[in-house]
Structure formats: C-alpha cells, structure tokens
C-alpha cells in the first residue's frame, strides 16, 4: 500500500483559516472595492475559526493529530532551536498586538448603513396617504397606449431631472454629478443594475418625495443629502422624472405582475 503523503493537520488548519481570511480581503477590498469593516471581519473570522476547530477535533484521533506537533515542539529536546525561535516570536507578536491596539486610533469610525432599506407599507406626501403596495406610476400605461404622449412625458421628466437632480446624480445618471465628490454617502448610480432596476416605481416615488429625512434609522437619514422633493416638485413632476430615469438608462421597473 502506498502511504499518501498529506499535509499535516495543523498546517491544514492554518491554511484553511488564512485562505478564508485572504479570500474575504480579495473579494471585498480588491475585487469589489468595498472595504470590509474590521469589526465585521473579526466576527466572521471568529465563526470560521470555531467551525474549523470543531471539524478538526471531531474525533479523538484527529484531535491528537492536531495537538501532537504543538506538544512535540514544547517537549521534544531535538526541536530545541525551533522552540527557542517560537518562544521569542510568540511573545513579541502578542506585545506588538497589544501596543498597536492600545495606541489611540486616528481612523474615522466606520458607519454601516442600509442602502435600500425596506419601504414602509404606507407613506404620507403631498398631504395624502399612499399605499406603497398598490401605488403605481399613473403615466406608465402610456408607454403602450400612446407612445407619442409617453415620449412627451419622458421629455418633461428630463427637464425636471436636469434642473433638480444632475448636480449629484450626473448628466449620465451615473451618480457622478459635479457635486457628487463632496457628498457622503455618494449619490446613487442609476445606470448600475443594482439600483432602480431592482426597485418598483412606488419605491422610487417614496425615496424622491420624502428624501433623506424620510429614510428609516438603519439607512442613516441624518447624512443623506437627498432633498425632500415634495417641497419642490409636484406629484406629477415626480412621476415624470421617474419615467425619465428608466427611459434614459434603459432599465425596466420591477412590478408585481412579473413576480
């Protein structure tokens, strides 16, 4: 029988944990460009390490395989040199960690907010109550019934957009308007398939009419620079600008019918 040479269990464990850790960093920070908050990463890694340890210590034999190399390092006289090295490095690492975690932090606190929070079932705007579950764009029907009228409505929506929205959301609707760089959170990119393409028109109506201050707490309404548009736009204008957003980007709003 050929005995397969395999990676020692302890090394396997270390490799798996390190692989998951760098996998997270690679996926979020490098590929997606979304810095993963340290606290969240710590929590994930805690679960990962616990899970891996549980698997690796499932049987007594596997536990022994895991612990033996460590025991050997401490107890085996032939490993004296390695032992001395480890005995210098481990306390030093602990010291460095303590030092750096006790140093005062100059990094701004990380703020997590929900970008598309769940909408309320009902909302108030223009002195009326709207049921968001049934609310529809009154102009959407003209897309099929009267394409000429629809084009005219889109055009009017575009005028509303250019006077009110392009400063932040941009002429290209890409969230990169002339003032976008000065805002945090940054304005939404409507060209992105993850924004208006995923939402219903009633949701957009809610977001425009009540603006940043109309957001629920999990979306941090105190930092959103979206104005309360019911103060500046009529109900009609709001529906028209929504037509424009979808028309210009080529996205389709989600609706109950298709789901």
């Amino acid at each position: 029988m050929i005995k397969k040479r395999r990676i020692p269990r302890l090394l396997q464990l270390v490799l798996i944990v390190a692989g998951v850790y760098f996998g997270f960093i690679l996926t979020f920070d490098v590929i997606l460009g979304q810095l993963i908050p340290k606290s969240l990463l710590t929590m994930y890694m805690f679960f990962v390490i616990t899970g891996v340890l549980m698997v690796f210590t499932f049987t007594e034999e596997s536990t022994r395989e895991l612990i033996d190399p460590i025991k050997a390092l401490v107890e085996d006289p032939s490993k004296k040199v390695l032992r001395n090295i480890v005995f210098v490095i481990v306390p030093l690492l602990a010291g460095i960690y303590t030092y750096s975690s006790l140093l005062p932090s100059f990094e701004a606190p990380v703020e997590l907010r929900t970008i598309h929070p769940a909408p309320p079932s009902k909302m108030k705007a223009y002195g009326k109550r709207f049921d968001l579950a049934t609310l529809e764009n009154p102009y959407r029907k003209y897309e099929k019934e009267d394409p000429d009228k629809f084009r005219e409505l889109v055009r009017e929506g575009g005028d509303v957009y250019i006077k009110g929205c392009q400063y932040c959301h941009g002429d290209k609707l890409d969230g990169k308007g002339p003032y976008a760089a000065g805002l945090n959170p940054t304005p939404l990119n409507f060209q992105d398939v993850g924004t208006i393409a995923q939402l219903q028109e009633s949701y957009i109506f809610w977001r425009i009419a009540t603006g940043g201050p109309g957001l629920p707490a999990e979306a941090a309404p105190w930092i959103s620079s979206m104005p309360i548009w019911e103060d500046f736009l009529s109900e009609d204008e709001t529906w028209k600008v929504i037509l424009f957003l979808y028309d210009y980007t080529g996205h389709q709003p989600r609706s109950w019918e298709h789901e």
Binding site: V74, F87, I96, T98, P104, P109, E111, A181
Partner: protein
C-alpha cells in the same frame, strides 16, 4: 516570395488602419442628431443655443454652439473654427470645473465623432481651420524656466491683472463672457478646475490663443502689447503648472481634522506663523441645494481646516479662496462685484453632544431631536467690524440665536491675495453643557462647515456652500501606557511558555526515571 507576401500583408493591414481611421472620423450628421437629442439637448438646447432646461442652473452656462465660440481649441488665435479633435476631446473627457461630464463611459468613439459633426453644424463650420497653434520646441519645466515664467506673468501686470499676484484669480476688474454672463478668472492654484486640462501643452494653447468668448486674450497676437514669444509662453505655462497648491487638494480618504495639543498659548490670529506647522485637511464645499432658498451657482469648491488645542481651549483655522473681499459699502469691493454684495462668511457646525452611536444630528442644521451648535463669522461692512454669532438650531426653520461671548467664542479673519483665513477659538468646556458641545480629548466629534461668498449672486442666509459631516479629533498627548502594557504582555507570554517547557521537561525526566 515569402517576404513579399509578408510585405503585402503589412501593407494591407496598414491600409486597413488608414481607411479605418479616415472612415471612422467623419461623423454621421443624422446619427449625431439622434445622440444629441437624447444626451445633450438638456443643457445645450434643441437648437444648440445653450438654452436647454439647465439654463440658469449651471455655472458656467452651457455653451451656445450657434455663436461659433469654442473656448478650448488648438486652431490659430485669429481662427474661429476649432479642430475636430478639440471638440472630440471635450466630449470624450468633459470639462473639469463645469457641469460637462466626459462621455466616453457611455458613448462609443463613433458616437462621439457623430456628435462632433452635428455640433459643428450649429455654427455652420464646414472647412477645417487653416491656422494652428505653433507649439515650437517645448521647454521642459525647470527652476529656471519657472522663474522666467513668474517674471513674465507679473511683468506689466500681464497676467496678474486678472489672475492676481498669487494666481488665485482675485481680479481687480469685473469680467464678462460672450453671453454677457459674469465670469471670474481661473484660480490657477486649483488644477482640478482647469476647463481645458492642466497639461502644460494645453496651458500653452490657452496662453497662445486665449479663451474665445471670454476676456482671456491671445498672447501670440503680434498686435498685443503683451505678446510673448513661443519660448516665453512655455515658461509661463511651466510657472502656471507650478502654482498648484498640492497641500490643499482634497484627499477623499482623509475625513478627520487632527487637532494637536500645544503647550502654552494658542494661535488666536489667522496670520500666526505657527499655523503652518499644523496639519491641513481639505474638504469639498457643495452648494446648498437641499432646502429653503437654494444656491445653484457656487463660486468656491473647497475649504481647508487646521485645529490645535491646549488645556483650556481649542482654536480652528478655516482657509478658503475667495476672489473678492466682500465688504458691503467698500468702494473697491463694489467696483468688482455685482450688487448687492453681502458679507463673506464662514460657519462651523457641531453637535451639542458627542454621539455615542452612529446617530448624528441631520447634517443640514440639525433636527428636532438632535440640535446643533453653529458658530458663524461674518466679514463686516464698511461701517461695522467683523462679527461672530452663535446659534443652536433644530433644522432650517428652528434657529435660536445665542450669545457667543457667554460661551467664550471668539473669531478673527484676515484676507490676503484671494484667500480668507479665519480663526475661531472657544474654551474646551463651557458653563452651559446643555447647549454647548464640551470638547473631549480622543473622541471623534462630527463637524461640518459652510461658507458664503457675498460677491457671488449675493450669497446670504440659506444660499451658501457647505460640507457634509466630517470629524474633528483632539489628538491625545502621547502616553507611556501602550508600551508599558505591551512589555507586560511580552513578559507574561514568555513566562507561560517558559513554564510550560520547563514543566514538560521535568515530567519527561520523572517519566524517564520511573
């Protein structure tokens, strides 16, 4: 035989390339119109006259293509027609410092050439320009070239007349554009606002042909008394490039103003030299377009802040470029600015309490449950000295004026060469913790700013520029605590490991004996 084939292939490919380039370039008018009507008409108007829906809402105003004036071009100075390439570049890269974005992310090259053809048609441009900018032999930047450029820049008020001594565009005369709109000379220290790029070659072109439709003249025109040779123009271009104030560029990653601790007195004057040692942090200013009366055409885009504190008080220096010192009633100020002029101003906004959790007051002057404290400095009028006022507000509508002196707030401003510097000083703690923020070392304190340019469309009240929330931190003095704790931990770990090894060895010895 083989070689000839290869040669033929190369020739064929080269031919294809040439044909490709020449055929790709001439734009298709009809397709151009189609794209224009979808993408461009909003600002530039159906007729290309700059009277789209955005008219009056953006600064500078959208270009009127029917006028035939192309500001950014590389054809000769007495030539109206731009090169196709000039128009193409503007469409592709956009124009920094304006509302014109670069379109290459949304349109194909062919789309953009089609637009070039269509846009040129508004001024009935058909022939290519005859004259071109003569770039001569470019002069590489060097200390010597920059020094020569500076001399030419200042000589006989050549450039200083409009761009100011330090290049910040602090004009001494009012300027108008071809749509008789008010224009302001470029602040040359802010490279990100150069409409036609900050490349020395592009700057050379601007100097050589001027900016048509504005009062920026050609310095290659032999009729001009201020004319410069090609070499001289390269020196000036190199000097202009050297004016960029890199220390005052926004670093998006840096959102924290670090206040260092100081032994002794704080610098309470804006001209105190010690401010130079404090770390500057620069933020974007955006116009207030969120509530009440809005401002659509701001004149300023950044503010730079430094802070320092001692055991009693904190001092902050706000620095921002403003082309005009707006003092209502002042003769010089009223000569340059459009009336009515208002006072210049700056404001600091802080929460009343340092938030424990993520929740902050609404960044636009607080909200009903989370009030903010505002410090507002104004430049004063001809008959009245500068002032600093304090208010607590719970939103735009609910503003309560307070006595700044009771909280010990002081402010002092100074204006030099196109830049305002204002210092505000307040004790770390006050007698009224219900209404004043109490500064605490080490904590992250939300902070926001607003600025008013009284000469720009009479900025006043809610018509101003502003920032979102950033952070202020009073950097704690360095202590020995971290190093002591670290040494303790090292000792502890080493001890445990040593003990473990010793006891293991002892066990082994015992085991071996038995």
């Amino acid at each position: 035989m083989r070689q000839i084939n290869l040669f033929k292939l190369v020739l064929f490919v080269a031919l294809l390339l040439v044909v490709g380039i020449t055929f790709a370039k001439p734009g298709d008018l009809d397709r151009g119109k189609e794209i224009y009507d979808k993408r461009c008409t909003w600002c530039h108007g159906d007729e290309g006259d700059g009277l789209g829906a955005a008219e009056g809402y953006v600064n500078p105003p959208p270009r009127d293509f029917t006028s035939g004036n192309y500001k950014i071009k590389s054809s000769g100075f007495d030539e109206m027609v731009p090169n196709d390439d000039d128009v193409y570049r503007m469409i592709r890269d956009g124009m920094p410092g304006t509302s014109m974005p670069g379109w290459s992310s949304l349109l194909s090259e062919q789309d953009m050439w089609d637009l070039v053809a269509y846009v040129k048609m508004f001024a009935e441009f058909e022939e290519a320009p005859e004259q071109q900018v003569d770039y001569g032999t470019p002069v590489a930047s060097s200390a010597e070239s920059i020094a020569k450029g500076k001399e030419l820049f200042e000589d006989g008020d050549r450039c200083v007349e409009c761009h100011g001594k330090t290049g910040k565009g602090d004009a001494i005369k009012g300027l108008k554009g071809d749509a008789s709109e008010r224009t302001w000379p470029r602040n040359l220290t802010k490279p990100w606002t150069y409409v036609g790029s900050h490349d020395p070659k592009d700057i050379f072109a601007r100097i050589s042909i001027g900016i048509p439709g504005t009062e920026m003249p050609s310095f290659a025109d032999p009729k001009s008394k201020k004319m410069l040779s090609i070499e001289e123009r390269w020196h000036v271009a190199n000097y202009v490039v050297s004016l960029a104030k890199t220390q005052r560029v926004v670093d998006a990653e840096n959102t924290v103003i670090q206040a260092d601790i100081l032994e002794g007195d704080l610098p309470d004057s804006p001209d105190d030299e010690r401010w130079e040692q404090m770390m500057p942090t620069t933020f974007f200013l955006v116009p207030q377009i969120i509530g009440k009366e809005r401002l659509f055409r701001p004149s300023n885009d950044t503010i730079t802040v430094r802070a320092v504190y001692n055991d009693k008080a904190i001092a902050m220096l706000m620095e921002w470029d403003d082309r005009t010192k707006s003092i209502p009633g002042d003769e010089r100020a009223e000569k340059i600015a459009d009336k009515p002029i208002q006072e210049d101003g700056v404001a600091v906004q802080l929460p009343i309490e340092i938030p424990d959790k993520m929740v902050k007051p609404y960044f636009g002057m607080g909200d009903a449950t989370h009030p903010v404290n505002i410090w507002h400095w104004k430049s004063g009028t001809k008959d009245m000295a500068e002032t600093v006022a304090m208010a607590n507000s719970r939103g735009f509508e609910d503003i309560e004026a307070r006595d700044a002196t009771e909280s010990g707030l002081q402010a002092k401003g100074s204006y030099h060469d196109g830049t305002w510097r204002v210092v505000m000083v307040r004790p770390l703690t006050t007698a009224d913790p219900e209404n004043d923020l109490q500064f605490i070392e080490g904590r992250f304190i939300p902070i926001a700013f607003a600025a008013w340019d009284g000469s720009n469309n009479s900025e006043k009240g809610s018509r101003h520029t502003m920032t979102t929330w950033y952070w202020l931190q009073l950097k704690p003095a360095t202590s020995a605590m971290p190093i002591i704790m670290a040494l303790l931990i090292v000792g502890l770990f080493a001890g445990i490991l040593f003990w473990w090894a010793r006891s293991a060895a002892a066990n082994k010895a015992v085991g071996g004996d038995s």
